[in-house]
């Protein structure tokens, strides 16, 4: 089988990518590419993590912003209370995100389809409201944060964040790839197609849904954790901004969710377009482009970019004989 060779190629690619990212932080002087690159890497992590639940399992999570915001505020709370270093903030965010994911997973017991999606929006708003009323982290007004000194070998905090986010994105991709190739992936695909038939074929649907929710949640919260240090500021309405939900969902669906590479492509493509548009035109226009692309793709190219590229996925699009 060439599975083994694929694995070697994948990990070699990961190593090359990380070495390239690290050397970029050592060579490039200008900070701007890192500012922009950070956002794109963050979108890769979000889109890939979203796709574990939304793509593989078919549960459309509108609450990416809930997990993201929880990640941000776990980091903020921890930093303010104990001055914990970034790594600890991220780890804590992942744990809290996983717990929230468990709660969201329990929701799948009672609801699916649009009911699940609406419930995730509800969860996001409720958590946001609590944070708004949480004085310790600044309430609705938000909170300013002073970055601690940067660690070697980096010469600027943004460059370090860029590298950290690259690690998080790679982690998300590696986990998504693992799930896709393992029987968990097949089980999720089965329950997405037909939950009862999957159960009756031996698939432990609840367990798999919980696993998918917890992993997806942990990854999203972890990707959100460094955002506070990136902006040196956090407030509930930006940390819990619904645009994280649209972006993650749109990038995953536009890229295609049948393979982990789909969300990665979607995030790179739309993320860089967004960066470009936000600079050249306005941030409203980039949300508009995202929305229009999303609608065009779900209508016209149901399997996303990878469906257009690889006929194997197009064949499975369904509907057309």
């Amino acid at each position: 089988m060439n599975k083994h060779r694929h694995s070697i190629a994948f990990w070699a690619g990961v190593a090359i990518f990380l070495v390239a990212v690290l050397s970029m932080t050592q060579i490039v002087r200008n900070e701007y590419p890192f500012f922009a690159g950070y956002v794109i890497l963050q979108f890769i992590a979000l889109a890939v993590a979203w796709s574990i639940l939304g793509g593989y399992a078919g549960y459309v999570n509108f609450g990416t912003n809930a997990f993201f915001g929880v990640g941000v505020y776990t980091a903020v709370g921890l930093f303010k209370a104990t001055g914990a270093p970034l790594v600890v903030q991220i780890a804590a965010a992942a744990v809290i995100g996983m717990l929230l994911g468990f709660a969201v997973g329990l929701l799948t017991l009672r609801m699916r389809g649009i009911f699940f999606s609406i419930a995730t929006i509800a969860l996001a708003i409720i958590i946001e409201t609590f944070v708004m009323n949480w004085r310790f982290v600044g309430g609705a007004a938000g909170i300013q944060l002073q970055r601690p000194p940067v660690m070697a070998p980096f010469d600027s905090y943004v460059k370090m964040l860029f590298f950290v986010q690259a690690l998080l994105a790679v982690t998300a991709v590696a986990i998504a790839r693992y799930i896709q190739n393992s029987r968990i992936g097949r089980g999720l695909q089965a329950l997405r197609d037909d939950e009862l038939a999957a159960e009756c074929t031996g698939v432990p649907t609840l367990k798999l849904k919980l696993v998918a929710c917890m992993i997806s949640g942990a990854l999203i919260s972890a990707a959100g954790a460094p955002a506070a240090m990136y902006l040196q500021y956090a407030d509930p309405s930006s940390a819990f901004n619904l645009s994280y939900s649209v972006s993650a969902l749109a990038m995953a669906l536009i890229g295609g969710t049948a393979h982990w590479i789909g969300p990665v492509l979607g995030a790179i493509l739309l993320g860089s377009t967004q960066q470009l548009l936000a600079v050249t035109i306005s941030s409203e226009v980039n949300v508009l482009v995202l929305g229009i692309m999303l609608v065009l793709f779900v209508v016209g190219a149901p399997k996303g970019i990878i469906g257009l590229l690889r006929p194997r996925y197009r064949l499975r699009a369904g509907g057309k004989p």
């Binding site: 695909q189 009862l196 031996g202 499975r316």
Partner: protein, 245 residues
Amino acid sequence: MTVTAAPDAPLLQVGTLTKTFGGFTALDNISVDIRKGERFGLIGPNGSGKTTLINCISGALRPQVGSVVFCGEDITQLPPHLRARRGIARSFQIPRPFKSMTVLENLMVGLDFAAVGSSLPEEDVAMSILTRMGLASKAGASTDTLSQVELRKMELARALAVRPKLLISDEAMAGLSSSEVDEVLDLLISLGEEDITIIMIEHIMQAVMRFSERVMCLDAGRIIAIGAPAEVMANKRVQEAYLGT
């Protein structure tokens, strides 16, 4: 879990099963034992509770009263996937394939999750099941390209991938031509010869007669007759239930 059933104990024991939906009683105090290796026919008019009964056996529904004992183990509270792992597989009245998968991948789900402990590579096992069901040429096909009879066969093949001790076939022949009915029936009978116990729900009477060693007829959630096929068919209440409307 310990399975310490006597060798001649029934494979499946359904005891005083009652299932209600709101005020409607779908199953009313159903008790029946099914022997190992038996070919069991389940008949009854529409809405008589056949599908509810097999939903209670396969775990899709939980009864309010009564128990389901399989291989000496009480499985009444187990979710469907654990029943599948213990060897209960089913097909659905309206086929429910995994639409985004190929035919072969459909079978792989059962092999991955329910049929533990096989030494052969999974794909070989899946291919041998498909060959047996006459679907080998469709292994790589998407399920929405299958004909009705192929879909029915695929459902049975997927159920076989679970390596069932008990196979429940829910109207696997509905909507098929008479030659296709014979084809599916032959497959089911040949499975029965391999020590797989089969419960078959069917409306096509010749099929039930030819297939079953024993037939049970439900009407309005109650057993109105059970016994040898000819006996049940001759029963007055069965004839009334079917023809008296």
